[in-house]
């Protein structure tokens, strides 16, 4: 919130509402909200942590609010980034101009695990590779928004954006009659529109779109079924699909139906045992060749993941300049690459002030938060860095903005980040909202749901 003199302008309406409602009542309502979440089953399984796999992500009832002006900036910046990332993907799977120009070293791309040589020369419809770009944004002062990382494969969490709003509207209808909040419930329609726009050129009429899930044991299965339901498309598992004559078919009670667009929530490695991991039990045999033949569109395109690789991240502002000829609206967080000798030395010397991450890691696992770590932990981590410096990057611990959050003893500021979901089809679209994650532990900077984070509704106020 920043200003100790009182809530920032966009929050005033809500501040008055909190005051009027009273903390006790709000605490009671929080329990109600949790009960609703449990009933509808929106829980989030966490890999590698043990404990309750159906743990609920705590929901905080105080919304995180963007003014219309703030949103204009965020929105323009996110769309710009999404366009640049897709241009980058097209380029590296074709002529590689950005490497020829000496902006990104060739080996960072061609040797990257997330780079798929098999995608060389493939022309995805509309030249779109990442159809849903989740951009993780933080704020460190009143002026700037910084991007922590991009998510170009299958960013999850959008169901929370929709559910959080629904719960808020259900529980506090009068709050929405006072504040002019932009709606987010258009997201499923916009997503469907974007997916339809990238149907194979050969597809005439309404494309058949399906959401491919690994199945009910996947931690995000709820989201898969929820989104498929809202879009009115089929939710399919690998066994429901097959490839024949180079086309993809879905088994239905009325016989096979050709599928034109697949919104897949299965990783590259697993989508086709004939093209990638031969031991994959989640794949559809021949899917990749059907895709390459232009008979089906996969969203996201195989190989899109390289654009969100942490080693590539530092070049995104350069991509904006190189491909779009624009200045980046959103800045990157300063990042040191341990692959570079000088950077690595700096990181090792300043471990206690830095956050160190694995280049290919995700979800907050395997990272070191310097200031919170013990001397021993830092020492052990330093050894890991020295053993494989290429695998690590480091960033300063940021003075992250806080947002008012409910605690047992009342309201207090907690660190937040924000993930909007940018849709890329023939057009680039961004629903005014996203997922605000909040570090519920006082002083904590880690907002990942797997590490004790919670979520909030996110409001974008109308003009």
């Amino acid at each position: 919130m920043g200003d100790p003199a009182g809530p920032r302008r966009p929050y005033r309406n809500v501040a008055r509402w909190i005051e009027k409602t009273g903390i006790d009542l709000l605490n009671m309502r929080r329990e109600e909200a949790e009960a609703i979440f449990r009933r509808i089953g929106i829980t989030f399984a966490v890999y590698g942590e043990g404990g309750d796999p159906e743990r609920l992500i705590p929901f905080d009832m105080i919304p995180r609010i963007f003014s219309a002006a703030e949103w204009r900036r965020v929105s323009a910046g996110v769309k710009q980034r999404a366009r640049a990332l897709n241009a980058f993907l097209y380029d590296i799977y074709h002529r590689g101009e950005i490497m020829r120009a000496g902006i990104i070293p060739e080996h960072l791309v061609y040797r990257n695990e997330a780079f798929l040589p098999e995608m060389i020369g493939v022309e995805p419809p509309g030249r779109v590779y990442s159809h849903i770009v989740g951009v993780d944004i933080v704020r460190t002062d009143a002026e700037d928004f910084l991007v922590l990382e991009d998510n170009c494969r299958t960013p999850s969490g959008v169901s929370y954006m929709l559910e959080n709003r629904e719960i808020m509207m259900r529980m506090f209808p009068d709050l929405f009659s006072r504040a002019k909040v932009e709606p987010v419930d258009t997201y499923p329609d916009e997503l469907k529109k974007s997916l339809a726009e990238v149907a194979p050129p050969a597809c005439k009429g309404d494309p058949c779109i399906a959401l491919l899930t690994p199945g009910p044991f996947n931690s995000a299965y709820y989201e898969h079924s929820y989104l498929a339901d809202l879009m009115g498309i089929e939710l399919v598992e690998p066994g429901d699909l097959f490839v024949d004559e180079g086309k993809v078919w879905m088994r239905t009670t009325r016989g096979p139906q050709q599928v034109d667009v697949i919104y897949r929530r299965i990783d590259d490695d697993y989508i086709d045992p004939l093209a990638f991991r031969p031991d994959s039990m989640l794949g559809v045999q021949g899917l990749f060749n059907a895709y390459r033949a232009g008979n089906v569109t996969l969203c996201s395109a195989p190989g899109a993941g390289i654009a969100d690789d942490k080693a590539i991240y530092i070049f995104v502002p350069d991509m904006v300049r190189f491909y779009l000829g624009e200045e980046p609206i959103l800045k990157n967080v300063q990042t040191w690459r341990c692959a570079l000798q000088d950077d690595c030395a700096h990181v090792l010397d300043n471990l206690k002030d830095l956050v160190v991450k694995e280049v290919h890691g995700s979800g907050g696992y395997g990272m070191l938060v310097g200031p919170k770590a013990t001397k021993e932990e830092r020492k052990a981590y330093a050894e890991r860095i020295k053993a494989d410096p290429d695998n690590f990057i480091a960033q300063p611990t940021l003075n992250l903005s806080t947002s008012p959050t409910m605690g047992d003893e009342g309201l207090s500021g907690r660190h937040v980040d924000f993930r909007p979901y940018c849709l890329v089809g023939a057009e680039t679209r961004l629903v005014p909202g996203g997922l605000t994650r909040v570090a519920l532990k006082k002083g904590s900077l880690v907002v990942n749901s797997s590490q004790g984070g919670g979520v909030k509704d996110t409001w974008v106020l109308s003009e």
Partner: protein
């Protein structure tokens, strides 16, 4: 030289496989040293045509069974004419940048011994270093049929000092890449000099990208650059990537495979 080729692969399943899906890279493509005169691929007598051309340089086809199968016969046959190019491969379709062939794979991950081997391969320029490397591999890794498997890595082959053409090619690739020389694995056919017709499996060798020349073939098993006796079928980052046949079998079944390649000079 004109080659008449018949490449037969017979898979048997006991009990029958419920469903078999195949990806085939069994279609040679033209380049300056090679021209495909006629070619036909069948699976259980059903003709299969390529579905896609990959810019990595291969044409690929899919095939799948709708019914249970106890036997699968894949035949690739035709006539390919070749001419001597001193191992140089030019005029291949596809525009894959050579830079991607610096990429390591599980089978070609270099260890200290491989780096040292490349260090020993000295010469005035890249080309002569690669020739030296070919000679070193030929000398250090004895050709011994059946001594390794499809999972043997380049590092293991060097350590054990024995292998087959697959191991030679992978070792060459792994070593060349440590010197930042792009290298790829090639699967193909070889007409032996001694006999007019020889029954054998497919052959394998390596290609390295040399600045100013382009792709050049190296066959460490025979310590020579491919001649007009070599017919190029497909390529990849390693032996696995250059498998002409990849299959996915549904059902609890035991698979056995018999391969034969007949290659002879066609009647002129």
């Amino acid at each position: 030289m004109e080659h008449r080729i018949r490449h037969l692969s017979t898979y048997s399943y006991d009990p029958a496989a419920l469903r078999v899906a195949l990806r085939l890279k069994l279609f040679p493509v033209d380049h300056e040293g090679q021209q495909v005169e006629s070619w036909k691929v069948t699976v259980n007598d059903e003709e299969v045509s390529p579905l896609v051309f990959s810019d990595l340089g291969d044409r690929e086809a899919l095939w799948s069974s709708e019914d249970a199968l106890d036997q699968l016969t894949i035949t690739a046959e035709g006539i390919v004419s070749t001419r001597e190019t001193n191992g140089i491969v030019r005029g291949m379709p596809g525009f894959a940048p050579p830079g991607i062939y610096i990429r390591e794979t599980e089978l070609t991950e270099p260890d200290e011994a491989i780096r040292a081997l490349m260090g020993e391969a000295t010469g005035d320029d890249t080309l002569s270093r690669l020739h030296a490397l070919m000679g070193l591999i030929h000398e250090r890794v004895k050709y011994l049929t059946g001594s390794t498997s499809a999972r043997t890595t380049a590092a293991d082959a060097l350590k054990d000092g024995k292998g087959v053409c697959q191991d030679h090619a992978q070792l060459f690739i792994a070593a060349a890449r440590t010197a930042e020389v792009p290298a790829r694995y090639v699967t193909g056919y070889l007409q032996m000099e001694e006999e007019t017709e020889e029954l054998l499996e497919t052959h394998a060798w390596a290609e390295a990208h040399v600045d100013g020349i382009g792709w050049v073939g190296f066959d460490p098993s025979h310590n020579l650059c491919p001649t007009e006796r070599y017919v190029r079928l497909c390529s990849g980052l390693d032996a696995f990537g250059a498998s002409p046949i990849r299959g996915n079998v549904l059902g609890e079944t035991k698979e056995s495979l018999e391969v034969s390649v007949a290659i002879g000079q066609s009647q002129q």
